[in-house]
Amino acid sequence: MEMKELRGSRGVLAAVALLIIFIGVTVAFVQLNGNVARGISPEYNRLAHLQQPNSLSAWVYDWRGFDTLIETGVIYVGAVVSVLVIGRGLVRMKQVEGEEPVPQTSLDLKIGSVNAILKYFIFPLVILLAAYGILIVTGAATSGGGGFQCGVVVASAYLIGAVFFGKKNPLNFRRKFLIAIGSFGWALYALLGLPGYLVTGYWQYNVGTDLWSSIAGFPAQIPSILHTIFGDPYRLALVLKGGTFYSTAGIVPLINIGEAFNVIGAICLIFLVFIYGWSDTEEAKA
């Protein structure tokens, strides 16, 4: 235990502050318990049967889709920054002699000790995990799941491969590939807002589902070609109490693919750089 800092007066102060925070949070939670206001939440579920069965996915990618665009940016930024800290894109001023950055060396993974039988099953496991990730992203609109989950599953497949096979990772993502799909994913997500923006002026309006063009005050009619391109490939028949609804998730499945690519690129790149470090010469070679 390193509780050295607890001893001084600063430690006592911090402990008292901590106690106050704890009591405050507890009191707030006690007051909140059972008194949570539903607010606007039920509104979001009211039209679920017209767009997609997974109401959470609808909230994340459609109702509040722009939030998620920036949130996707957070993970992109996380990857860029942590990779930059390790060495990709460190900058120096031309005029000033600064401290040299620490050279990053790759970790030494001892893969010899892995059981041979285990190793025999790891390759199918990696492939099937990757396929499972893809299943998750394709089913985002109907079941729990989506881009981020897909990205994490594929990244875990990558990490398992790296742990058991070292440099002979079966899912041998190259640096340029990861950077490219990460960037492509975020750009795809960002640019999927363009059709809605050009037609209606609302960024990321879901032109495939098109819930609102019949409401008074909506600025434009959605051309039928956009329905065909962005809506029809995802049309499903929902059999519910209250009738059968032919709904479509519109651009949401495409957005999910963008998000998945971004997350795969970002998280695999973080893993890769943490394990193998970064050197510019390797990127030039690849």
Binding site: A14, L18, V25, F29, N45, A48, I75, V85, F148, L240
Partner: protein, 124 residues
């Protein structure tokens, strides 16, 4: 008298996790342990957000065959809790990655993980 409902218990658990997380971040000296404490804190916040959406008799916010269209909006659990948890997870992952990267670099420079040694002020 406070009733020990599921929501109340999970709120208390999250308060405890938040306490442990903040205490760990303030008092532990090891940088990696600090980062672990941060993930605990972030999990506590996630738990609070999830339990915010819970209410007695709520159903998952996903339509399944045969669900009643008219009753679904009122029956489904509050949707912003899980939605914000997704964001918090993403933010937690990114922040942790940046923290670990900085810690790795500083460890390679100084050969120690002790915050008191690594972060000692040495400004000229």
């Amino acid at each position: 008298m406070i009733e020990l409902t599921l929501q109340f218990l999970s709120f208390m658990a999250s308060a405890l996790l938040i306490l442990i997380g903040i205490a760990g971040m303030l008092f532990l000296d090891n940088l990696i342990k600090k980062i672990i404490a941060f993930t605990l804190l972030s999990d506590g916040v996630n738990l609070a957000l999830v339990s915010l959406g819970y209410f007695e008799g709520g159903v998952v916010a996903i339509l399944t065959p045969g669900t009643s269209v008219a009753e679904f909006p009122q029956n489904a659990v509050l949707i912003f809790g899980p939605g914000i948890v997704l964001t918090n997870i993403v933010i937690g992952v990114s922040t942790t990655a940046v923290l670990v990267a900085l810690t790795m670099v500083l460890y390679k420079r100084y050969g120690t993980l002790k915050a008191s040694k690594v972060l000692k002020g040495e400004r000229k």
